[in-house]
């Protein structure tokens, strides 16, 4: 039976063998693996791409002070993005799960309709939640748009919920009981962190500071795009998004204001996406050439 870190080793190995470049988590607070520039930006434009990585994902409003067996303000996604989408991607995906020791003749695997949308990224995709015995373990998406731009070729994104998979394999009802390695549990590693960050997100974070940050990051992003520094500009989009999530957790954003904030992040994301495609074009779409060689 695989422990938590073995699941990650397994996926790294599995996808590396199938041509993925394995990269590291991004060093900013992201809400999901999708936010990592290795997905958001690389999905844009004509260049082929095949990447796999773990992404710690922060969802401040989902914090439960370490008291809920399923919800956390931070969890780990395993993200795979392949462009163009391979024809046998469903089989490739199922094989990655089967080889973790999940027998599909004993457990009910299902692709259940769930289209994906990120209003802040201006991104949409069609796909499924993959269920094992009714539990969602993966989000499986054919990207159609990012930053408001139509994608061609289409990328396929697999987002594995690592804790869910570990709970399933290890037969645990509580996320904190997952074995991280053979001696330490997920709770040993993270329970205190969940408590402190829940308190921070919901109670202690300075609303004024966050509001200021949001505005500052937004201005910085605009300035950076103007100077052609697309990658740092995208960092600012991630930072804005996280500041917004924090403000929401603090209950500092009214329903009416919410739409306004989301619109501001989406505008930035679109500007950056357009600038990124321009920049890659100016560089001559290097990965296209590499593939041709």
């Amino acid at each position: 039976m695989m422990n938590f870190q073995q699941i990650i080793f397994h996926l790294n190995g599995y996808w590396a063998e199938r041509g993925s470049v394995v990269v590291q988590p991004y060093d900013l607070e992201t809400g999901a693996g999708t936010f990592n520039p290795a997905t958001t930006l690389r999905a844009l434009g004509p260049e082929p791409w095949n990447v796999a990585y773990v992404e710690p994902s922060r969802r401040p409003t989902d914090g439960r002070y370490g008291e809920n067996p399923n919800r956390m303000q931070l969890f780990y996604q395993y993200q795979v993005l392949i462009k163009p989408a391979p024809r046998d991607i469903q089989d490739l995906y199922l094989e990655s799960i089967r080889t973790m020791g999940i027998d599909f003749s004993r457990h009910d695997v299902r692709f259940v309709h769930d289209d994906w949308e990120s209003p802040t990224l201006g991104a949409t995709g069609l796909g499924w939640e993959v269920w094992i015995d009714g539990m969602e373990i993966t989000q499986f998406t054919y990207f159609q748009q990012v930053g408001g731009l139509e994608l061609d070729p289409v990328s396929v994104e697999l987002t594995y919920g690592l804790e869910r998979i570990a709970m399933f394999i290890q037969g645990k009802d509580d996320v904190y009981d997952i074995m991280w390695n053979d001696t330490l549990t997920y709770g040993d590693m993270r329970k205190r962190e969940e408590f402190e960050f829940s308190a921070y997100n919901f109670e202690a974070a300075s609303v004024e500071m966050l509001k200021d940050h949001f505005g500052e990051f937004e201005r910085e992003a605009v300035m950076l795009v103007e100077r052609g520094l697309v990658l740092p500009a995208y960092d600012m989009v991630i930072k804005c998004s996280h500041a917004f999530n924090m403000l929401e957790a603090r209950g500092a954003i009214s329903v009416t204001e919410r739409t306004g904030y989301i619109g501001r992040v989406r505008n930035l994301a679109r500007t950056v996406a357009e600038a990124y495609v321009r920049s890659r074009k100016e560089q001559g779409f290097p990965l296209l050439k590499k593939e041709a060689r």
Partner: protein, 693 residues
């Protein structure tokens, strides 16, 4: 002539289609394909349809191997313009020949309207079906419409999900076809787990059997039926049953599986403390699980059924249960969190929720609704306690919109409000009203039991109707984005069901100042007109005849309920023998009265026996009529009216109203006016359209 036929099989194999679109997709596929066959004049005998998450398939039986043949005639230029002096073809003729792809030898000359024309007469059709099939399928796929489609490969073709194989057979012959990056073949795929790779299909008729052998039941109805049988088998022993709200799950689970197996599961009894509506929503909406209720009493149990796509081996149960457990924990968290706040305190937060750009926040709406409800309560002369409780309902009725639970399950609005109001210690009349102000939510839904919810519900809807009119967005034609028509219907249903007597027009006018910042008072006339027109339509939908409505609707906005009772009374007495004739007599009286201006009435001037008799009968009944109208006993008035029949008949048979003597004429008109006048509050006889007219 008996044409040769074959069966046709076409299967579009795809990655899992969204369960919500399968029914519409297979219908669209079938209709589109058959439409194309018809256009191509290819006959067939019958069609079977198959659909699972991974395939849409049609088996068309006894399809002709050839198109029907038919003769096509096309008229070209007149003969004299077709050839020049040298008998050579002119440009006009040459153009006609090229246009039809024929040579001068193919031409026939025929007369048409005294002129000789050149004709192209051709035998058309007769083409081999098999050569037409690729185009037919291509056209079918292009014309199908879906709520959402995606692209997945280089050609840019779009479909709800990626197409991965196409099985296309005409008889035993494979039909070549390409869509996106897929080339058709003579094989299908079975169940994801039990199916063993490609399954060759030699001929259409073996399709269903071979798939069933590969653990796919391709017939959607058969899967739904199988789920139903399996669940009945499981629940019968336990005295449990599937509740009505879960009926849709049979089809839904059929659309989520190819090889369904029902599995009995359970959750901890302690969760039964949560509102049943929450538990049911968690099971039905998120997990597509069947909640189970006791056969007697319909009480929710802690058992449920999940439908698996593999054979039951007992190992899936812990997983199904664990997922639900997590959801129920969440549900409990939402419920407990929401209950931590005093329910009334949510009202303040409604200021942050926009109701409508021009009409402000939901808080503003609630404030207006309270005022409208207060006026209505005054009109209805309810007691002080009821007034207070009604105001309580209005203040609280939108509070649950910002609770965590309604955020998760929007359709539980009202339901949760009731629980939370109760938990915060509000009186039953208030908490019930919070739920009931939404009733009825749809045709056939329950109506408010308490008067508080009824008043709040009318006020809330009237606020929306008036507000939207004031904002200049009144419904037009088929556009009614705020469902205002349905809101009027709900108001009228409540009024009728509860027998509420109040001036609706008065309520509208008294509420007008609430909207003065948004619009000039002019919109009020539009609102009233809208209500009048809707009332007519609603009465007509209830089965009343147009003339019955016209005769009884005067003053409807002064009291909708009485207007309804008047039309109903008229409708009910109308089929009685002789009543139609009586109506004709009274219609005649009221026409005379309306047309003739001069009148006066003195009983002493009555001369003829028949007019005296009519008057005597009137005098005898006058008080009873007046009293019955005052008592709103309309059927009694119509009963008394029936008694006028012999007197009215002999009056018109023997008495000349338009007497040459002006004194008599004026007096007789006066008599008729006196008689019809007593009925004026009940019915306008002039609007009656007698049968056959």
């Amino acid at each position: 002539m008996t044409a040769k036929t074959r069966d046709l099989l076409v299967e579009i194999g795809s990655e899992e289609l969204p369960h919500g679109i399968i029914a519409d997709s297979i219908r669209g596929f079938k209709e589109g394909f058959l439409r194309c066959l018809k256009e191509e004049r290819i006959s067939f005998f019958g069609v079977d349809e198959f659909s699972t998450p991974r395939r849409l398939a049609l088996l068309v039986r006894n399809m002709a191997e050839q198109q029907e043949t038919f003769t096509q005639e096309r008229r070209g230029p007149p003969v004299e313009k077709a050839y020049d002096r040298d008998k050579k073809p002119t440009k006009a003729l040459l153009g006609f020949l090229t246009g039809n792809g024929i040579t001068p030898d193919d031409i026939v000359v025929k007369e048409s309207g005294n002129t000789e024309y050149v004709f192209c007469v051709r035998k058309m059709g007769g083409e081999k079906t098999v050569t037409l099939l690729p185009t037919i399928l291509e056209k079918t796929l292009k014309t199908m419409s879906f709520p959402k489609t995606m692209r997945w490969e280089a050609s840019g073709f779009s479909f709800p999900r990626a197409i991965r194989w196409v099985l296309f057979l005409f008889g035993e012959k494979k039909v070549p076809f390409t869509v996106a990056d897929v080339k058709s073949g003579g094989f299908t795929f079975g169940h994801r787990v039990y199916g063993n790779g490609k399954i060759a299909i030699e001929k259409p008729s073996e399709y269903e059997k071979k798939l069933e052998k590969a653990c796919v039941i391709p017939d959607r109805e058969k899967r739904a039926g199988s789920i139903k049988n399996q669940i009945e088998g499981i629940t019968a022993k336990k005295g449990l049953a599937v509740p009505e709200i879960a009926e849709n799950l049979f089809a839904e689970n059929a659309d989520l599986t190819e090889y369904p197996h029902a599995v009995l599961c359970s959750f901890g009894e302690s969760f039964l403390d949560l509102p049943a509506e929450v538990l049911e929503s968690e099971m039905i909406e998120h997990q597509h699980y069947f909640p189970l209720v006791s056969k007697k009493g319909g009480k929710l149990s802690n058992f449920f059924v999940s439908v698996s796509n593999i054979e039951d081996n007992g190992e899936t149960v812990p997983g199904y249960q664990r997922v639900l457990l997590a959801r129920l924990e969440d549900g409990r968290f939402f419920f407990e969190e929401d209950k931590k706040r005093e329910f009334g305190s949510f009202t303040e937060s409604l200021k942050t929720v926009t109701f409508h750009e021009k009409l402000g926040s939901v808080y503003d709406k609630v404030e207006r609704t309270r005022k409208i409800a207060a006026t209505l309560a005054e009109f209805l002369s309810v007691d002080e306690a009821t007034k207070e409780n009604t105001d309580g309902v209005c203040r609280l009725c939108k509070n649950d919109l910002i609770t965590l639970m309604v955020g998760e399950f929007p359709h539980l609005q009202g339901v949760m409000g009731r629980y939370y109001a109760k938990a915060s210690g509000y009186p039953e009349a208030v908490s019930r009203g919070v739920l009931e102000h939404y009733l009825p939510r749809f045709a056939g839904d329950a109506l408010p039991v308490g008067i508080e919810g009824a008043i709040a519900g009318i006020a809330d809807r009237l606020d929306t109707i008036m507000g939207i009119f004031a904002a200049g967005q009144k419904p037009s034609g088929s556009k009614d984005p705020f469902a205002l028509r349905r809101k009027v219907l709900a108001i009228i249903r409540i009024i009728i069901a509860r027998g509420l007597n109040f001036p609706l027009g008065g309520l509208i006018r008294r509420s007008a100042p609430l909207f003065e910042k948004i619009s000039s008072v002019g919109f009020i006339a539009d609102v009233e007109e809208f209500f009048k027109a809707r009332t007519r339509t609603i009465f007509s939908d209830m089965g009343f005849a147009y003339d019955e409505i016209d005769a009884s609707i005067e003053g409807a906005l002064d009291d909708v309920y009485e207007s309804y009772r008047r039309v109903r009374a008229l409708h009910e007495v109308r089929p009685e023998p002789g009543f139609e004739d009586l109506l004709v007599s009274f219609k005649r009286m009221s026409s005379i009265v309306k047309e003739e201006e001069g009148f006066s009435f003195d009983p002493k001037l009555l001369e003829e026996e028949q007019e005296k008799a009519l008057y005597r009968h009137f005098v005898t009944n006058e008080e009873a009529i007046g009293k019955s109208i005052a008592d709103k006993n309309y059927k009694e008035v119509y009963r008394i009216l029936s008694g006028f029949k012999p007197f009215a008949d002999s009056f018109f048979d023997h008495v000349l109203v338009m007497d040459p003597d002006p004194t008599h004429k004026r007096n007789r008109i006066g008599l008729l006016k006196t008689i019809t006048g007593v009925f004026s509050g009940l019915v306008d006889f002039s609007r009656i359209v007698p049968e056959g007219e």
